[in-house]
Amino acid sequence: MNVLGPAIAVMGIIGAIFGIGLAFAGYKFRVQVDPRVTQVRSALPGANCGGCGFPGCDGLADAIVAGKASPDACKPGGAKATEAIASIMGVAVDTTAERKVAQVMCGGGSGLANERSTYVGIQTCPGAMLAGSGSKACTFGCLGYGTCVSVCPFDAIHMRPDGLPVVDKAKCTACGNCVKACPRSIIALVPVSKTVHVRCKNTDPGAVVRKVCKVGCIGCQICVKACPTKAMQFAKNLAYIDYDLCNNCGTCAQKCPTKAIEDYAAVEKQAASA
């Protein structure tokens, strides 16, 4: 029985139906896709890190074109992406803001911060926060279970042997994932040139801090008086630096009785000379 005829006829008809149908649908259901969205999308790095708060780069591209997000919302993209998007959108953006990196604001590693208990629950910071907030006596310090490490899409943060995370300034693109992930918000985005940081977040009075951690800020305010450029601010028993005024002189780090303030530049000079 000859199958050639009916086969060609049937498949031809099916092909025709869908050919015309798709063309018709292509026009009838045409959605106004703004051409700029695809241009902006190609200017973004495409790491879908979610640092800008939108679901991936597609989400951000739609938001930028719709005006809901600023062209420099994508920090990992850096100045290059911001300029490209600004030119696409025809908007002037000052790209003078200095590149930022993440910085861990806690110095209470193992041996310095006292341990209150041993924690054997789920090995993540949010998990530890739920079950009696971890093993350290200090309730403001770093829990040390590495959630910031697991959320970092650029592998820029790693756990040190003493249980504190350290940021690799070269790889860090300030996408902010770790800042959001840390349940005690210990990590902050600081300008990359600044090397002096107050590595403590404890706002308890000095006497309480002294009991829980050897390198905690006890609120003695010596640094505030000593700071030549008045960069050192003080509130709720805790000293913190106003990075616009700070010139990395490091006098506060020398004066601090509990070494809560760390001057990385000095530490590197020492390591280099030793």
Binding site: V3, L4, I8, M11, G15, G19, I20, F24, G26
Partner: protein, 196 residues
Amino acid sequence: MSGGMQKDMVRFGIALTVFCAIAAGALAFTYQATLPQILAQAKVEEEKASRIVMPGAEFVRRDDLIEKAAAQFPEFMGQGAGKIFEGKKDGKVVGAVIQLANRGYGGPIRVAVAIQDGKVTGVTIIDHKETPGLGSKVKDEPTFVKQFIGKTASDPLEPKKDVEAITGATKSTRGVSGAVKAALAIYTSVFGGATR
């Protein structure tokens, strides 16, 4: 807008139609080229089981008998599972082979039973879904099917009576012995007891 649409509709319509037509033509051509071989293979495949239980015979599929048997034994012969062949040796009908399916443990077990002069002369398992290592022994152990040789419709064909069950696989054993018993029953009803 509608002008663009018309142009696209025509362009896509033609492109897809031509494409599908060419593909269909090529496939139809290959199908016809391979058809005779496929049919031959199918016939060989169908009679493979019969040839095992009744070696050296020519087989004629009796569709009329299949319908008759399916009416009487729907659960064994129903829905295309059952087939009846008449075995001929140099022109003379010597017996019949009945392929049927009976429920085992893991699913249906398909069995081929050769019957000559009312006596079982050969049984083989076509396929089964029994648990590997346990129920699958109905097919893997050659001695199991041999015990059915010589049985007639009058035998009880019950495990522990005249059928030696496989340890730990009574449901599988019952599946096969039930199938042989049904084959004998179909044989007597369809062929009227004695082969003509």
